[in-house]
């Protein structure tokens, strides 16, 4: 079947008035989740697939918004008729996580208690909290058990966490370009990104909304650092090399090398639409994630509760979430007697590979997903 788009989609909003206890000890008294769905929930309610987003993603996984050219969802190549997550078979859900900035309750939304934006008062949220909130949305939609939970990077951590928090509610987890926990180096990158935001004079302790400013310099810097780590050395070299804008050094701090131009552009673009507080919260959620922490670091013991089947995928040039980190998950799952398959895809694009449609990558996803019974 020819791959098609799911077409125009419209986000939906669900309000939850039951308080959500958070891992930090805090509580969200009430909250909203914005989500999109693609395909149709079958009568047995057995064909639902949850797609979890990463650091800068959203509920807009696939399809387009009417009248908005270029508004394809962030994983549009995966979801749709004739695509690996075929919406003719599956009912696919994307959710903007709590603390996000795309409509779900988060720092840039109004705190019902004060009538003002939450800002820095929005509580810390973790991967586990996101999964709890997603589970409540699943309850609301009448989904007892997901055919699959799918995610890349931080989204992969949510997919893994689903199988530990709600082992009876997930049949398959697809954990892509992810890790069982961040390394010190990985946390270090996040910390530099956070410091760039926290030290921006426009940050105002996270209450910049009230001052009518945005810490764009810090947020742009944070994105630049992140972006470097999402690309491979080779990919960057091939795309930009040492190309000079003026064909020779002009001894200036303005843009000279093409890579400088690219990073500044990416940083500024990101700072124009993303929320700095969400960036802070989300990088902390990444740092805190460690399902083995309560098991003295024993991941096999932590996975003992799981009942799902797994597909784990990594990419050869991904150094932010290196293949060796995915293998940790694979071996721990195997030693927990879980069914697990693992593919290490040869792809030059670094961490960002997981968003591409490299043929072997999508063929493996397709083969695995086709065997999921609904």
């Amino acid at each position: 079947m020819q791959a098609q788009s799911v077409g125009n989609v419209v986000p939906q909003r669900a309000h939850f008035s039951t308080a959500l206890p958070l891992k930090s000890g805090g509580v969200l008294p009430e909250y909203d989740l914005v989500y999109e769905t693609y395909g149709t929930l079958n009568a047995a309610r057995s064909n639902a697939v949850l797609v979890c987003h990463a650091l800068s993603g959203s509920h807009h996984v696939a399809g387009t918004y009417a009248g908005k050219p270029g508004s394809e969802g962030w994983w549009d190549n995966l979801v749709g008729p004739g695509k690996p997550l075929d919406t003719g078979k599956f009912f696919v859900i994307g959710v903007n996580n709590l603390g996000g900035c795309y409509g779900s309750s988060g720092p840039n939304a109004i705190n019902p208690a004060t009538g003002k934006p939450w800002g820095a008062d929005f509580p810390f949220v973790t991967v586990e909290d996101w999964v709890d909130a997603q589970a409540r949305l699943a309850d609301r939609l009448g989904i007892e058990r997901f055919a699959a939970v799918v995610g890349g990077s931080l989204g992969g951590m949510q997919a893994l966490s689903w199988t530990l928090q709600y082992p009876d509610r997930v049949a398959h987890a697809l954990v892509i370009a992810s890790a069982p926990k961040l390394t010190a180096q990985n946390i270090a990158f996040n910390e530099v990104a956070r410091q760039a935001i926290l030290k921006d004079p426009d940050f105002h302790g996270g209450h910049y909304y009230e001052h009518g400013v945005v810490p764009t310099r810090g947020l742009a810097l944070a994105r630049m650092i992140g972006h470097i780590t999402y690309l491979s050395d080779d990919a960057m070299g091939q795309k930009f090399g040492r190309n000079l804008r003026h064909d020779k050094p002009v001894f200036s701090y303005d843009v000279e090398f093409e890579i400088e131009s690219y990073l500044r552009y990416q940083g500024d673009k990101f700072a124009g639409f993303f929320d700095a507080n969400t960036y802070l919260l989300t990088t902390k959620a990444l740092d805190y994630y460690d399902p083995a922490f309560d098991y003295a670091g024993d991941l096999v013991a932590a996975l003992g509760r799981a009942k799902a089947d797994y597909l784990v995928v990594s990419f050869s040039t991904d150094w932010r979430f290196a293949p060796s980190r995915s293998r940790e998950i694979v071996y721990a799952l195997m030693h927990s007697d879980r069914r697990v398959s693992y593919a290490e895809i040869d792809c030059a694009a670094g961490h960002d590979s997981f968003l591409l449609d490299e043929p072997q990558y999508h063929a493996v996803l397709q083969a695995y997903i086709d065997n999921i019974r609904v």
Binding site: V330, Y331, D337, R339, V340, Q360
Partner: protein, 196 residues
């Protein structure tokens, strides 16, 4: 390949129902598929070829993409009941290393390989050519095989490495060869354990 059926039956006979089995160089996963059908094994395959990995995924078996030449770091000692390497040992460079790894992560190892001393192969050499046969279907210039050894050679290696041969079956054209296997058998299957 035509000898696969009896190859599979011999291996299945060495495996108890419900065992944990690791198949190194599992191809399209058909052996593991067979073992999970007839022995309900908890099976995992190891494969590093993208096409074959994809075939495994389509076959619905657990497959893990790693390079076996690097050993089996990450696999716990004694986790598997049987570690199988079916007709792949001759294509591995690190022969001693992988045999040691198989017997580290498995209680027993099952190894099968084409016997290079099979009489038709000897005949080919006498006639001045490298053997090409059903079990060695490649030309010398395109073969994936990198180690050329015989039943007698393998027996010797096991003795040197302290590997116990619990059982050895040799075949030609699907029939068991009891007399002169190093001359008359084209394929051999071994059930191996650590000495002591």
């Amino acid at each position: 390949m035509s000898f696969q059926r009896y190859d599979y039956d011999v291996i299945a006979n060495w495996i108890e129902p419900g065992e944990r089995v690791l198949d190194l160089g599992c191809g399209d996963g058909s052996l593991l598929r067979y073992l999970s059908d007839v022995r309900q094994v908890r099976g995992y395959g190891v494969e590093n070829d993208p096409e074959r990995l994809l075939a495994c995924a389509k076959n619905g078996i657990n497959v893990i993409q790693i390079d076996m030449e690097q050993g089996l770091a990450g696999f716990d000692d004694g986790f598997f009941d049987h570690v199988i390497m079916s007709l792949s040992l001759q294509a591995m460079r690190n022969t001693q290393g992988i045999l040691a790894e198989m017997l580290r992560v498995g209680r027993e190892a099952v190894v099968s390989f084409p016997n290079f001393a099979y009489w038709r192969h000897r005949q080919a050499i006498l006639n001045g050519h490298m053997p090409v046969s059903k079990n060695l279907p490649y030309q010398w210039y395109n073969t994936p095989n990198v180690r050329f050894f015989t039943i007698a050679d393998f027996d010797e290696l096991c003795a040197t490495e302290g590997i116990l041969i619990r059982e050895r079956l040799a075949f030609d054209e699907g029939k068991v060869i009891v007399e002169e296997p190093n001359f008359l058998a084209s394929v051999a299957l071994y059930r191996l354990a650590r000495q002591g």
